[in-house]
Structures are given as structure tokens and as C-alpha cells.
Amino acid sequence: MAETMDQIFVLLKHWIVGLLPVTVQPIASVLLSVVAIVGFFPALFALTVLLERKGLGRMQNRIGPNRVGPFGLLQPIADGIKSLTKEDIVPLSADATVHFLAPVVLVVAVFLGFAVLPMGRNMVLVDMDASLLFYFSIGASTELSVFMAGWSSRNKYSLLGAMRAVAQMISYEVPLLMSSVAVVMMTGSLSLVKIVEAQNHYTWGLPHWYIFTPWGFAGFVMFAVAATAETNRSPFDLPEGESELVAGYFTEYSGFKFALFFLGEYLAMFSISGLGATLFLGGWSAPFSFMTWVPSWIWFFSKLMLSIIVFIWLRGTLPRMRQDQLMNFAWKFVLPLTLLNLFVAGLWRFLGNGWERWVVCSAILIVAYAAMGKVGMRREHFGPRSYHYAE
């Protein structure tokens, strides 16, 4: 029974594909999975938008939207109707082709990333040997769409926002990759399916998730920081900060294209949360060995929603970082720590299986974190202030 519930989507797909003629079966199988992803994640996006507005509202001591439907549950539908029926304004001097293509490139690239996430036992769209590398290559293409959006609007605010966003995204790309490389090193494979399977073992009821090791914990924290910066979420959302840059690189977008950008951004957030869950939190494996009767896809999506809730929580709590503080943080703090994390992960494997490796690895990481915090984030000292008055 638990087995059937666990594989219910796979069995459903096999049944539907079995009803079709043999010649179209391969294509139908892939199309069905694609349709499931393309249908499900935008629905989750609608729910998340509502969750974010209500959650932020509560954190700011107000109620979120509550007019449309009970507890505001139909608010996403109202938002969707609004963005579909708004007039699509393209500035006269804007570059029409590039302006049109930018949201399309973003959404396509982000959807492609979902193809390699294992969402449950046997529930991967494409099982490639180098699926993590594929994910990161596709993620690198999203930066180009941000630049296209900002440049094609022929607007100084958009261009500034786009350049800041791209600079931020490429700076945090390296810590993102490096913290994942530690996981790849310990698993011995770039395939996300194998990474999950390596974490699916239990000792005394506790799982072998990588987050429960010192290098995995540090790696997860740095992955989370880099992921927040990659998706331009607060506290790293200077490129789209409403008080600084109007709306940054999507100032000139209205109506459906703006909705596409919004969709792309939230889907990127889901995608990277899914990746974080797969790499560090064990993907679809259950937390305790007595809970394996719960279907695997429920665990995956719970971990995804937990990460989303943490993102929303961060947005409501932390102030925005300035651009130079942000870049300083990336290059001088997070990147050296990720390199040290790689070294510590290697040390973990070679120190044998006892309690020594826990102590040594944790000690190295904690000392490095404290030392780097004091040294790497030093600022210049400013002299006394001088004022210029109009005479």
C-alpha cells in the first residue's frame, strides 16, 4: 500500500501511456511528465505568492490579502486576471525583439532546470550522468535574460539594475558551484539520482543526509546564501529594490511579460530549493527510518516548501545589503570558506570513522568562520566627516 502511494504518479503515467499506440509511446511518456511539471509548478507558484504576501503581512504586523475568497485564497486568480488583461506597453525607443525575448528566455531556462530534479523515487524526467552540470549550465543562461531585459528597455534605471543583478549573479555563481562540488566529491557522481541514493541510508534511525556532517552543514549554509543571491531575493535584492531602482531591470515591463518575469523568478527559487534539498537534505528520503511509509514525493515537496518558507522569512526579517557589501561578502568571505569546505570534506573521508573526524572538521570550520569574519570583512576606516554648505 505504501509502495503504491509512493509510486502512484509513475503507475498513473504507465497506465495512460499504455492506452496509446506503440509508436507514440516514447514521446507520449515524456510529454506527460513535461505537462505534469509545467502544470504543477505554476500552480505552486500561485500558492507561494499568496503565502508570501500573507506571511510578510503577518511579520509586519498586518493581515495580508483577505478580500478575495476565504482568507484571500482566490487572490492569485485575481492577480492572474489582472496581469493578463493589462495593456502591454513597450517603450518607443526600446529594442522590440530583445524586449520580447527576455522573459521567454528566462522562463524556458528555468523550466529546463526542473527536468533533472528527482522529485520522488523513480520520478526524474531525465536521468543523465552529468545532471548537476546540466542544471548549472542552464542556470548560467538566466543571467543573460536579466541583462537582455535591462538593456533592451533603453532606460538608465533598467540598465543599472541589470548590470548590478548580473554582477551579483556571477559573483555568487562560484560559491554555489563550489559548495555543490563538495557534495559531488563525497558521492563520487554528478548524477542527482545517485546523490539522493547515497543519502538514503539510515544509522540507528537517523539518515545519512549530508547536512548532518560538518562539511555538509557549512556547505548547506553557503549554498543557501548563494542561492538567495542567485535568485535576487532579499537581503540581496538590490537590483529589484523598489525604493532604489523603481523596479530595476523590469521597470519597463507591464502586463503579461511582467507576470512571466515574476513567474520565472519564483520558479528559479523553487528550482534552487529543490536542488538544495536534493544535494544536502536527502532529496526524497524520509528523516527517520520509521517514517519511510510516507510517499517520497511528499518528503521532497515538504523540504521544498520549508526552504520557500525560510526564503519568505528572510525577506521579512533582514535589511537589504548594499551592492559593494554584497560583492565583498561573496568574494572575500563565502568563496574562501567554500574552498576550505572542499578541503575539510576531503579530510572527513580520510580521517577514519570515529569521533575524531567530527571534532577536527568542526573545529577547522568554526575557527575559519570566526577568523574570516574578523579579517575578510574589514572595512576601511573613515576620517571625520566634513560638510559642504551652500553659501
Binding site: F136, S137, A140, E143, M148, L159, V166, S189
Partner: protein, 166 residues
């Protein structure tokens, strides 16, 4: 050859043509990105998955963005007053055509001695890793040194000079 090959080659060659023919420099950079994507797809069709993904990651994710930033920092998006082609464009075109003719002739003449299609090589990333750390470890370390030197060099070359350092 299969239709997919023609489609992807058309994409790559079209992107390349657009990259050298268009007037607006940023459009050229975006067309170059299209050519890179087409080439990555060609690599994937040749069963070189690692090379295809590395091409996408490095070229589209880094080199294209670098080119675009350089265009923005040198105000390349403003059209120059003398046109975009240099004075001796015809000589350049003739040379390129001659090179293509020579290469094409060489490829077509030697069709009879070209090796025929072998079975699909199954290359796992583990084999590439073992090769990189075994047989090719010296080139790997040298490339690491090269990249460090290039990073430091690029930063120094493009840095703003300090005020009194004339």
C-alpha cells in the same frame, strides 16, 4: 544526415553570420550566444555530453556575459559615424572565402579515406575524471596556473590607475 543536424547547424551558422553582420554590437553579442548554444547542441549530438555542458557553462554563462559587459563599458552600443565595416573589408572577405574554399576542398577530397562512423562511445563523467587526474594531470595544473595568471592579468590591465601613479 538527420534533420536535427541540419536544424542545429542552421542555428549555429545563422548565429555566427548574425554575429558578424549586424550593426548593433549588443545584437551581435546576443547572436554569438545563439551560435554558442547551437554548438553546444552539436556537441550533445556527437555524444560529448561533458563538453557540451562545459561549453554552455563557460561560453554562454561567462564569455558571453563578459563580451556584453565590455560592450557596455566601451559604449559600443552607440553606432559609429563611419559605418561598422573597416576600409579594407573586401580583402577580408576574399581571404575568408579563400580559407573556406580550401578547407571545404580538403574535406570533400578526402571523403574516401575518412574513418567511418563507429559505435556510440559511452563516456561517463567518472572516466573523464580519472583521465583528468591520471593521464592529463599536467595539462590540468598548467591550465590552472594559466587561469590564475589570466585573472590577475585581466584585473591589473583593466584597473583604474591610482591618482599619483603616473
Amino acid at each position: 544526415m538527420s534533420g536535427m543536424f541540419f536544424l542545429i547547424s542552421a542555428l549555429a551558422v545563422g548565429g555566427g553570420l548574425a554575429a558578424v553582420l549586424l550593426k548593433n554590437t549588443v545584437h551581435c553579442a546576443l547572436a554569438l550566444t545563439l551560435a554558442f548554444a547551437g554548438l553546444a547542441l552539436l556537441f550533445l549530438q556527437l555524444d560529448a555530453q561533458y563538453a557540451g555542458f562545459a561549453q554552455m557553462l563557460v561560453y554562454i554563462g561567462a564569455v558571453a556575459i563578459l563580451v556584453v559587459f565590455a560592450i557596455l563599458l566601451t559604449r559600443g552600443s552607440e553606432t559609429p559615424k563611419d559605418g561598422v565595416y573597416s576600409r579594407n573589408w573586401f580583402a577580408g572577405l576574399v581571404i575568408a572565402a579563400a580559407v573556406f574554399a580550401m578547407l571545404g576542398w580538403a574535406v570533400l577530397q578526402s571523403t574516401s579515406v575518412l574513418p567511418h562512423e563507429t559505435a556510440e562511445p559511452v563516456v561517463t563523467v567518472q572516466q573523464i575524471g580519472i583521465a583528468l587526474m591520471g593521464r592529463y594531470v599536467l595539462p590540468l595544473e598548467i591550465v590552472a596556473l594559466l587561469l590564475t595568471a589570466a585573472t590577475i592579468g585581466a584585473v591589473i590591465v583593466a584597473m583604474h590607475e591610482k591618482e599619483g601613479a603616473k
